[in-house]
């Protein structure tokens, strides 16, 4: 399978421009004149925080074209998180700076400026929004939180946004500016909840076959019930598995990398048991309805006819399986496949057969056990490293360990491609 000739390039920073530009635009509009310093800080932090919050909302819209415009879903999520955290910190400065401004008059005034019970309902809205943002953000930093709980707490965060905007609109009085902000926020929230979470734009598919590829790993074949998604190897879809004759799915969308794009528009996705939903999916059966959104990502999209090195860790083998199944390779390709145990590595037999049948494909399979792999020894097995296009897919720790080693061997940063599939 060969993709079009694409020179490696860095995304134009659309997401970053939004995160920087939107708050700056609002601050530029609202910057005060002739006010005391601390009150000016309070105003600037409020509008800057609101701009960051709005940028964060736009960046969570999970629609394929919007995601592409923003530089990919992963990029959009990363900036969504950054701008959300920055927004919260700036918005926290707002009441503190107002109190600092009042402190110049007296400590009692400063306390009055901070104490919610000394204020009226428009200010209570602001405090309520800040508390909800705090709860929601705490969830994003909790490492061992289940997806369900994380999602619920994230909804609390989302609820804080309209409440915060109500605080702004009420205090602004009858002005079109506040209503424009509300419209933008509601548009972004609506697009996320209606289009993405409720799956209004999702395409219906049906599970036609389920194969067990390893302990805790299944591969499902999905046939379109209507128009099919145009998916390329290396991309992923968001799938919500529903009802079957004897199976009840989770009904929520999770990302799955496509492991096969077949000629009859069927897709294959590999599912590893990592959480409650993917654990339940291990019992998936034929006939189950599934709704798909996407495709997202462009991992493997920048390939060309030149030697390649693919490095896969565990279930990170999935996108490479899709590329190998799509047809014969048009360039020498070495695949380093890292997995815990030699017995029962997903797709091991199929990979061995592919390597035996294609002289351009070299497979280096390595069972690591519970120890960290010897990356230096593995990379030493791939010759002409600096001339190869390198694609890495695996756990974040593996990607982080490989990046400096590849640089040390003279590989240009633009020649290394990876996508972390660890976002929620």
């Amino acid at each position: 399978m060969s993709g079009p000739y694409v020179t490696p390039w860095r995304d134009p920073p659309v997401a970053a421009a939004l995160v920087v530009g939107l708050p700056l635009a609002l601050v530029w509009w609202a910057v005060p004149e002739g006010l005391p310093w601390w009150r000016s800080i309070a105003i600037v932090s409020a509008w800057g925080g609101m701009g960051l919050l709005l940028a964060s909302l736009v960046l969570m819209v999970r629609e394929p074209r919007v995601a592409r415009f923003l530089g990919g879903l992963e990029t959009a999520y990363r900036w969504h998180h950054r701008s959300g955290v920055a927004a919260y910190l700036l918005l926290l400065v707002h009441p503190l700076a107002l109190a600092a401004d009042a402190w110049a008059e007296s400590p009692a005034r400063a306390w009055q400026a901070l104490a919610p019970w000394a204020q009226s309902w428009p200010v209570w809205l602001g405090w309520a929004a800040l508390v909800l943002l705090m709860i929601g953000l705490a969830a994003t930093f909790a490492l061992n939180l289940s997806y369900r709980r994380w999602r619920g707490l994230h909804l609390v965060l989302a609820a804080g946004v309209p409440i915060g905007l109500a605080h702004v609109v009420v205090l602004l009085g009858s002005t079109g500016s506040g209503l424009a902000l509300v419209a933008l926020a509601l548009l972004a929230l609506g697009a996320r909840f209606v289009v993405s979470d409720l799956g209004v734009a999702a395409r219906p598919y049906r599970v036609t076959a389920v194969a067990r590829r390893a302990a805790g790993v299944i591969e499902a074949s999905l046939a379109p019930c209507a128009a099919a998604l145009a998916v390329a190897p290396g991309q992923f879809v968001l799938a919500a598995f529903g009802e079957g004759p004897h199976y009840r799915g989770c009904g929520e969308y999770h990302p799955f990398t496509v492991s096969g794009v077949d000629r009859d528009a069927q897709l294959r996705v590999a599912v590893k048991a990592l959480g409650p939903c993917s654990q339940r999916l291990q019992d998936l059966e034929s006939g189950v309805l599934v709704r798909l959104q996407g495709p997202f990502g462009r991992f493997l999209g920048a390939r060309r006819a030149e030697p390649a090195l693919w490095i896969a860790g565990g279930i990170g083998i999935t996108p490479f399986m899709a590329a190998l199944r799509a047809g014969p390779l048009d360039a020498d390709t070495t695949l380093i496949y890292l997995h815990r145990e030699a017995a029962g590595a997903p797709f091991a037999d199929e990979l061995a057969a592919l390597a035996a049948g294609d002289p351009r494909f070299e497979l280096i399979s390595c069972a690591t056990g519970d120890r960290a792999p010897d990356f230096d020894a593995l990379l030493a097995q791939a010759d002409r490293l600096a001339e190869r296009m390198i694609h890495v897919c695996g756990p974040p720790a593996m990607v982080d360990a490989l990046a400096p080693r590849l640089r040390a061997r003279g590989v240009a940063p633009g020649a290394v491609h990876f996508e972390r599939f660890d976002f929620r």
């Binding site: 006010l35 415009f69 002005t175």
Partner: protein, 101 residues
């Protein structure tokens, strides 16, 4: 490459348009434009600013302002202070901006 450039330009245009469309920030109540500022609690200041921004009629704005001045004069009298008139007037500023009819 053209598509990428278009994306950046579109983003910049959207942001620029949003900023340009909103010429001038909201009016703010402050010591220089609010009689009796020093006799108002933080809550009253917030509420006063909100009320002033919410008017659409010049007459209603001036009526509220007169009421506010009387209330503040009373507080100043109790404190033994004489209030000086302010150089700026919120209602006049709003009328100049075309907000009040």
């Amino acid at each position: 490459m053209k598509t990428r450039l278009a994306r950046i330009l579109l983003c910049a245009a959207l942001i620029g348009a949003a900023a340009a469309a909103s010429a001038g920030g909201p009016w703010r109540a402050a010591e220089q434009n609010t009689v009796g500022w020093q006799f108002m609690s933080p809550e009253e200041r917030v509420e006063h600013q909100r009320r002033m921004r919410s008017f659409t009629s010049y007459e209603a704005c001036v009526a509220y302002q007169a009421e506010h001045h009387a209330r503040m004069a009373e507080r100043a009298q109790q404190a033994g202070v004489t209030l000086a008139p302010k150089a700026e007037s919120g209602c006049e500023r709003f009328r100049a901006r075309g907000v009040l009819k």
